[in-house]
Assembly symmetry: C2
Homo-oligomer: 405 residues x 2
């Protein structure tokens, strides 16, 4: 079987949590597909896998280039998204639809769950003897995909987090107290760690950063907060929604009952974790002015906050997936962003096997977390800075003291 | 007594909640003061009234123009802020310090509580026979100062809210469900109402908007949500933190015990209200995917989201306060932004009496709220749009349906 000149239609879909640049990947793939005459129709599935199962498809070949460019700059998933793992029955239905529409190029934009879905579809296609190229296009604000230096969506979400902390640190400096901000990232602390980029002056917050990669102890937390508060008379704290105790039980999970279709406990869309931590600080009587904000969904698809590097790389991942698929060499795979060695920031997109990205997630490397497990290291900041881009300039008064009269 | 050529020093301070443009007012006043030779020293008080009482002052004359310009673009109160109403003992101490430093020009940037404080200080100065010009410079993201068409800080906070809803509406469209966002504004719904500016397409959220100006009924709320969900299979809701029942009891107040120094219940810095509303929707079994985010402190001093109109007007209010004070005509007053009649947006800054701004707040006029008490009117959108400025462009796929095979 040769797939060198595989001719047929293309289907692309988006899955999982939206990001600020996931449409860049969509548009990158669609515009690249137009360059390849072996790709006939360019279809999009509405709401991911569900759109295929329900045969709810749209013809992306009928979009104007101008409209596609406008969509590329628009946050969230323009095709709609879904959180669904295919059952064996789903797979039967998926192939029925794909075959009926002569889909030979399949692209699925998403995180590790979506890579797993793409992998299952690819295996099912083989099993059915149906020749189809299946590519996963990497995406997740959590930055937790294996094989990737970082993932599209992370840079823009990290930028939101950094800008939020810049302002919130100044707010806390103006009206001192203890402030907790809860950030997305169930198992990987990259996004929470990005709060560190907000620091400009040595006494700037976040003063403490708690990541899901280290067990969370309430006693240690309260001791840390007390020490910072004693020193600065204020304290800004970044906490991952996914922090868990020694036994791996998520601190937030104790206060919510919701479970999504992947069996995960709901950690976003509730202020419970922040309120629990704030109450603990109040009870410890460190100070009475304690506040908690949960950044929630704002951080993943805010309109108007995009890292230019992130947007460019997301577009490239879409383009490269189509190039890999039409190149003839590869039947399937996933796009992975790799960083070139050297001081100057430069990346490229490589193909990797679906199984290398699917299922398991990547965590913050030890070199990015400080010994005390309450901050990041300079290595993390050097890693994340170019992905997030130039941040707003922050000024501070010299505030030369006037002698008491 | 003539105050035409009153010579002496100036003191400026910031009070209440920080905003994204409160430093524009500070810098506007300081740079304008440099043009008036009757003003000798230009002092700033650290953390508002507390800085005066503790004689914790800084010499703003020693700041470079470049640094002042950088500070002007930086969110939150560069001098530090305070939430404090002066007691009679405080007033004795304040005058002691003001007299010792020969302060003859006093400027206090803040909301209606700060206008009240300025008024008290002004009255005390008269009573003591101490000649001093006291000006309040208007500021509040709540937009609830009387005499003002709108207030500095509102435009930028409203811009944050609008951009947040633009993204969140798209997020909700990609992964449908019910989403509640809780917005600041204890008694005035202007900031919550600004969520309406996010709408681009007819089916865009926010689909429902609840303001503190109208009594909130849980039954009515659930019926509204059910109606929208039936129509769109999704629902995005903007809720003011200050919503209250028929008897005026804040819905949020039932779930928190914190009280600030003005005797107000704490409504921000907790996710309680959003969680309560989400639980009610779940219990009503409208749908299981219900999420709530509380925008919290992010909306008032986010770094990098500023309305250009807001920044310009905040600067002008600082300048004009100094011009009014040095003009000789007025002993005291407050700056008020007025809008010129006509289709083209244009404003000017007027002096008004302190007592006209102090104490009482302004609410959303009836003409801005729909009959059903769950949305704004086109009149509000026409009012708010120019203050917030041009928003990010939002694209949507044509999504031409593919016929089922």
């Amino acid at each position: 079987m040769t797939t060198d000149k595989l001719t047929g239609n293309m289907l692309i879909a988006q899955s999982g949590g939206p990001t600020a640049v996931i449409n860049q990947s969509l548009v990158g793939a669609v515009l690249e597909a137009k360059n390849h005459k072996e790709i006939k129709k360019i279809y999009g599935s509405l709401h991911g896998l569900r759109g295929i199962i329900e045969e709810n498809l749209c013809d992306l070949g009928k979009e104007t280039r101008a409209n596609l460019e406008l969509v590329a700059q628009t946050p969230s998933s323009a095709l709609g998204s879904v959180r669904k793992k295919p059952t064996p029955e789903d797979c039967v239905k998926v192939f029925e639809v794909l075959q009926k529409h002569n889909i030979r190029y399949f692209f699925y934009i998403g995180g590790n769950d979506s890579a797993e879905t793409t992998h299952i579809i690819n295996e099912e296609a083989r099993r059915h003897g149906y020749v189809m190229k299946c590519f996963h296009i990497c995406k997740t604000i959590d930055n937790d995909l294996r094989e990737n230096d970082h993932t599209p969506g992370f840079g823009s979400a990290a930028r939101f987090v950094a800008q939020a902390f810049m302002g919130d640190n100044l707010d806390n400096r103006a009206l001192p107290g203890i402030k907790i901000n809860v950030i997305m990232g169930r198992h990987a602390g990259f996004l929470t760690a990005a709060a560190s980029l907000a620091r400009v002056y040595p006494d700037d917050g976040p003063h403490l950063i708690y990541l899901p990669e280290r067990p969370f102890s309430m006693d240690k937390f309260l001791a840390d907060v007390k020490a910072v508060f004693t020193k600065f008379k204020r304290c800004v704290i970044a906490v991952s929604e996914g922090i868990a105790d020694e036994k791996g039980v998520a601190i937030a999970a104790k206060f919510t009952k919701e479970v999504d279709s992947h069996g995960n406990v709901q950690l976003s869309g509730t202020g419970a974790l922040g309120d629990v931590l704030a109450d603990a600080i109040r009870k410890a009587e460190i100070t009475s002015r304690v506040r908690a904000d949960t950044f929630g969904y704002l951080q993943r698809s805010f309109a108007g906050i995009v890292s230019a590097v992130d947007a460019r790389e997301a577009r490239l991942c879409g383009q490269m997936a189509v190039k890999f698929a039409t190149g003839g060499k590869f039947a399937s795979g996933s796009t992975a962003i790799k960083r070139k060695p050297g001081k100057k920031y430069a990346t490229y997109v490589e193909r990797t096997e679906l199984k290398n990205v699917a299922k398991e997630t990547r965590h913050m490397p030890d070199a990015f977390i400080n010994k005390d497990a309450n901050d990041v290291t300079p290595a993390f900041i050097a890693y994340a800075k170019p992905i997030v881009g130039e941040l707003p300039k922050i000024g501070r008064l010299k505030a030369v003291k006037v002698a008491k009269a």
